[in-house]
């Protein structure tokens, strides 16, 4: 009998305390943001998909098309091609494609690059209607940034 009443007391008290927590929260400021209207700055260390580094002096890429990133990629999503252009000793990058549908953002390519020619982009708003939209032409993206 004593237990019966003490249970009512402790139980009731715990319920009131719980209500107190939510009631207090009701008047506390909101912690979320309304996403498309407000945006939080993302950290500079964010790892988006890869991009070619733009060398500010030469205004071109640093890539020497050695193919290390292609080899390092666990999912074979990088495809690069270098060609020897006329009058140049080394190969020049002519194709750099990233199949983002397979990419797991592990960063192995960036680490493997001997010239530090790759970086992570800061883009996270990636949505599209087709798979093909995620076959990025990284070289073209660099060209766009150049102009």
């Amino acid at each position: 009998m004593k237990q019966y009443f003490s249970e009512i007391y402790t139980g009731g008290k715990s319920l009131v305390e719980g209500l107190g927590v939510t009631f207090k929260a009701l008047f506390q400021p909101i912690v979320t943001v309304q996403y498309p209207r407000e945006e939080i700055d993302i950290t500079p260390n964010y790892r988006g998909h890869i991009d070619l580094v733009l060398d500010p002096e030469k205004n071109t890429f640093l890539c020497i098309s050695c193919g290390m990133c292609e080899k390092a990629c666990p999912s074979d999503c990088i495809k690069i091609k270098g060609e020897k252009l006329e009058g140049e000793k080394k190969k020049t990058l002519v194709l750099f494609e990233l199949d983002f549908t397979k990419c797991s953002l592990c960063g192995a390519c960036v680490e493997s690059c001997p010239k530090d020619a790759l970086e992570f982009s800061q883009e996270y708003n990636l949505a599209a209607f087709s798979r093909e939209a995620f076959h990025f032409d990284i070289l073209k993206r660099l060209e766009e940034r150049r102009t």
Binding site: I8, L19, T22, F23, A25, L26, P29, V31, T32, Q34
Partner: protein
């Protein structure tokens, strides 16, 4: 009366009242839906609906339009008649109790001298709708929900009635208007705190609200009795639930919180409705807060709670009340 007119004035009065009440039902569901979402959001420290209208105030209207536009899916092998009747059955009986509730001294569709009993009996029809919905859906989860609803309703009807009886004992009438009239000096909540508490707890259970929302327990039964309903079928249940909440809260306001009584207002016999609504929505606010705070009780615990705690306490309460009234 000696002259039989085609439309007696009483009938016209009732018709107008019903129309007002039905339109109020929808308005109440929209308001409650908005309130629930906003309060839940702020309890969880997020803004809630913000897009449609100022602070998302029109969100529920847009949602209603969406629900109207949705296809009424009728699953394979359901009992078609029962499946279609159930939402109506949940929606229609909730109109009737509102006819006898005194919103203010002069705003009452019909003052039945057995008003309280009328409300209780109409309220019990609601569980029929849940049973029919669960039975007709050809879904085991829905069936579970329906069965739980019936057991729960039977268990909690008794403490509700007993707590009401304590008030009736004090003022010797079942007419809601007279009960409110008896509270002019002091509200019954101060004389009958235990009955009030029992009524509120049992009322939350009667309306199938969390923590007693077993018939629709979404983490156990996906959506309980309305698992298979879509579009307007679902929203009729939804409106029915909110109206039930409103009825339970307004009966509480009438029985315990002094109905339309409050500080003096001009045209008090009509504007008493302001106090009435404030009391009702305060109780509804409390019910919403409770929903967003507690976990759900288990089925047998719920029945245990009703039979081992609420019923004995309400008997004791009635006994004490009877003795004191006699003195």
């Amino acid at each position: 009366m000696e002259t039989i007119s085609i439309l007696p004035p009483e009938l016209i009065r009732m018709l107008i009242a019903v129309i007002i009440i039905i339109s109020f039902l929808f308005l109440n569901a929209i308001m409650m839906g908005y309130l629930e979402r906003k309060i839940a959001a702020h309890v969880q420290r997020r803004p809630g609906p913000m897009e449609v209208g100022f602070h998302g105030i029109l969100q529920l209207i847009v949602d209603g339009v969406k629900l109207l536009g949705k296809e009424l899916l009728i699953p394979f092998k359901v009992d078609r008649t029962l499946f279609r009747v159930a939402p109506l059955l949940s929606f229609t009986p909730v109109i009737l109790p509102l006819l006898v509730i005194p919103f203010s001294e002069k705003l009452q569709a019909r003052d039945l001298n057995l008003g309280l009993i009328f409300i209780v009996s109409m309220g019990s029809v609601n569980v029929m709708a849940l049973l029919v919905a669960g039975w007709g859906s050809n879904n085991k989860y829905a069936m579970f929900g329906a069965m739980r609803a019936v057991a729960q309703s039977i268990a909690f009807e008794i403490p509700i009635l007993l707590s009401m009886l304590a008030v009736v004992l004090m003022c010797n009438t079942f007419s809601l208007k007279e009960i409110v009239g008896a509270q002019e000096k002091i509200w019954f909540v101060f004389l009958q705190p235990l009955a009030f508490l029992i009524y509120v707890i049992a009322g939350v259970a009667e309306t199938n609200r969390a923590p007693f929302d077993l018939p629709e327990a979404e983490s156990e039964l996906t959506a309980g009795f309305h698992t298979e309903y879509s579009g307007m079928g679902f929203s009729l249940f939804f409106i029915g639930e909110y109206t039930n909440m409103f009825i339970v809260a307004s009966v509480a306001a009438v029985l315990f919180l002094g109905g339309w009584h409050g500080p003096h207002l001009p045209y008090g016999e009509y504007l008493g409705i302001v106090w009435f609504f404030l009391k009702v929505y305060f109780l509804l606010f409390l019910m919403i807060m409770i929903r967003w705070t507690y976990p759900r009780v288990r089925f047998d615990q719920l029945l245990n709670f009703a039979w081992k705690y609420l019923v004995p306490f309400s008997f004791v309460n009635i006994l004490i009340t009877a003795v004191l009234v006699k003195l």
